[in-house]
């Protein structure tokens, strides 16, 4: 194994964020801008998940037959996972609002170009 899983997932998260920022800055189409923004959010979520990962650990569900000390030593850290659940839903709802606005603005301008719609006005 070249790289451990946690580091690799952190790097993936970083790559997603960079791709997202790049897309937001340089793509002109509004739908693609929103797709890039969704990638930034995904990257942040993956980052949080990777924070809670424990190499060689077990899933944080206390099944019958486990001893308490074994569970507490091996289970992954569940707090970040609980946070990501909220964060995913928030991201999806923000995106829905943005897409709704884009539909309205497309009716007004007949275009999806950010430089036309979101210029200096």
């Amino acid at each position: 194994m070249i790289m451990d899983t946690q580091l690799a997932s952190l790097l993936t998260a970083g790559a997603l964020i960079v791709i997202g920022i790049f897309g937001t800055l340089f793509l002109d189409n509004l739908i693609k801008k929103v797709i890039s923004l969704a990638f930034i959010g995904d990257g942040a979520n993956l980052f949080l998940i990777a924070m809670g990962y424990k190499a060689g650990g077990i899933v944080y569900i206390f099944l019958p037959g486990m001893s308490m000390s074994e569970f507490s030593q091996n289970a992954a850290y569940p707090l970040p996972f609980a946070l990501v659940l909220t964060s995913i839903v928030i991201g999806a709802s923000t995106m829905a609002v943005m897409l709704g606005l884009i539909i309205v603005l497309n009716k007004k301008y007949g275009s999806l170009s950010a430089s036309k719609i979101l210029g200096d006005n």
Binding site: A8, L16, V34, D42, I88, A96, N106
Partner: protein, 77 residues
């Protein structure tokens, strides 16, 4: 070992999505990084998050984008 595959598909999927000129294709392709992330979460010991991400990331979000494309225009100008 398989989690590395998911990481690579996530990144490649994201890049391919942003390179599309057909917006409907791009909208549907957002499902690839979404689904790969869901599987990746499963391997990172977070089954409940994986479930949510599988629903939101690979079904709801692409459908939202596809609906928005359907209501606006399909090809990037």
């Amino acid at each position: 070992m398989i989690e590395y595959v998911f990481m690579i598909t996530t990144i490649l999927g994201a890049i391919i999505t942003l390179l599309q000129r057909d917006l409907l294709k791009a909208a549907i392709l957002t499902g690839i990084p979404g689904a790969s992330l869901a599987l990746l979460y499963q391997y990172l010991q977070a089954p409940d998050v994986a479930l949510t991400q599988a629903i939101v990331g690979s079904a709801i979000v692409p459908v939202f984008f596809a609906l928005a494309v359907y209501r606006t225009r399909r090809v990037e100008e």
